[in-house]
Each structure stands twice: as C-alpha cells, then as structure tokens.
Symmetry: C2
C-alpha cells in the first residue's frame, strides 16, 4: 500500500516516477520523522549524492516535503501534510522535537505553534516552535 501511496503522491505533484524518488518517498513514509540528507544516504546506501540533493529540492518545490526547523546544524526535511501546495506554500504549524541523544527530529503534530503578538513593524509569515531534550526512546 505504500507503493500505491508513493505513486499517487508523485503523480499528484507532477513528478516522474524514478527509482530515487520512489525510494526516498518510501523512506519518508516509513520513518515518519524529519530526515537529513545524510540520514537518507545512510539508509539507502547506493544513492547518488547530487541526485538526492536535487530530489529533496524538487520535492520541496512541489510541496511534498518541507524543511523542519529543529535547531540542529543539519538541514532536515519532513513529509508535508496535505495542506501544503506549491502555490500557497508550506503549512508547518506543529512543533518539532530534537533529541540531543539520538539526534533525531520528530514532528509533534499535536503541538501547534502558538500565535504571538506581532511587534510593531514586523510582518510575521511563519512561526516555528522547536523543542529540545531527550526523546522517549533515549530517556
């Protein structure tokens, strides 16, 4: 059923079905957390670095994945919920938790980023809540 879902996701976002894209998407679906390029390389082994780099950018452009701000040095991506789309942009209104032990980043869908009073002159387009600590597997 992941197969079907992957095919549908690719088609829905006007992306050709290639080996790399399928593998990457399957991994995102399976892991259900934010992944850095390195994480993906380690999991998929044979994948080409540049192809993966562009695959992630393409997925981001088309609204399949978004950058997960987790306060780590690594750039991570997470699967988008259905609200994301290439026209209106990304909706990513949940908190991200980054474990300092295993260095994994989890999306906490149940925790929404709070709305804050806008300081004078500042136009806020998005807000992100980053939580750091120790995850349930490491504590």
């Amino acid at each position: 059923m992941t197969q079907k879902k992957v095919e549908h996701l690719l088609k829905a976002h006007q992306l050709r079905r290639t080996e790399t894209r399928v593998e990457v998407l399957e991994l995102f679906l399976e892991k259900d957390m934010a992944l850095a390029q390195k994480d993906i390389e380690d999991e998929l082994g044979t994948i080409d670095r540049i192809t993966l780099y562009r695959t992630l950018r393409t997925f981001e452009d088309k609204g399949l994945i978004h950058r997960a701000i987790d306060g780590s040095e690594k750039l991570r991506f997470a699967l988008c919920s259905h609200e994301c789309n290439p026209v209106e942009g990304h909706f990513d209104e949940h908190a991200h938790f980054h474990c300092k032990v295993c260095e994994k980043t989890y999306c906490l869908e149940q925790i929404h980023t709070p709305s804050v009073r806008v300081p004078k002159g500042y136009q806020i387009e998005s807000s992100h809540l980053v939580l750091k600590g120790i995850c349930e597997h490491c504590s």
Copy 2:
C-alpha cells in the same frame, strides 16, 4: 564605555583580552543582533577564519554568547543576557525573528517562548520560538 564593558565581560568570564576577542565582542555589543561567522568576517575584514571560529566556540563555552535558532541555514550567535553562565548553561527564553529579505536575525526579548504541555516520554530541556517574515526595515 563599550571599551570598559568589553574588558569587564572578558575578565568576568576568565578570558584573556586579545585583539580578536575585543573586536568581536564590540561588534556584538554594537549590532545587538544575532551574527553568523560570515557576518563578522565581513565586518571585521582582516580577521582569521579559524581564530574567529574558535573565538565563537570559546565565547559560547564560557557563556558569553549563545546559538540563536532562527531557522536559517546559517549558525548564528547572540550575546547572552546575564543569566547565562557556564555552569547552569544558557537561558535563551525569547523569540528570534529572521527576516527573509535582509536575512538578519533579531532577538525579540519581549516575546518569551511559550511553555508547552510535555508529550509523554519526552523530556524537554529547552524550547525555542522562531518567527520568520519581514523586518521593520525591509517592509
């Protein structure tokens, strides 16, 4: 008076007064925003890359500056308030605003990071609120 303050800050954190450290500290005091290594290099010109790299790490270790999570790819540091110290760690309980136009990062001291309900099993050690948009100078 910045002179005095710089001297005091260095002495208070048991750091020798060197040219690089003084210049970097003065810049932080003057700019009053989060700075990436590149920003500092551009401002100070002649500074050595590695020395600056280590200066920033040292300042961080000693509790003079902290990492400002701003959701950008760049690692930025901001001057600590007095509550930070090397023993108990960093307190950085205010929001950071990152402007997508000028790419500067401001500390919004008046906006505190909200406390959130802890999900089961997760131990939260710090939380960070990142705001993105357009700053008052760019809008």
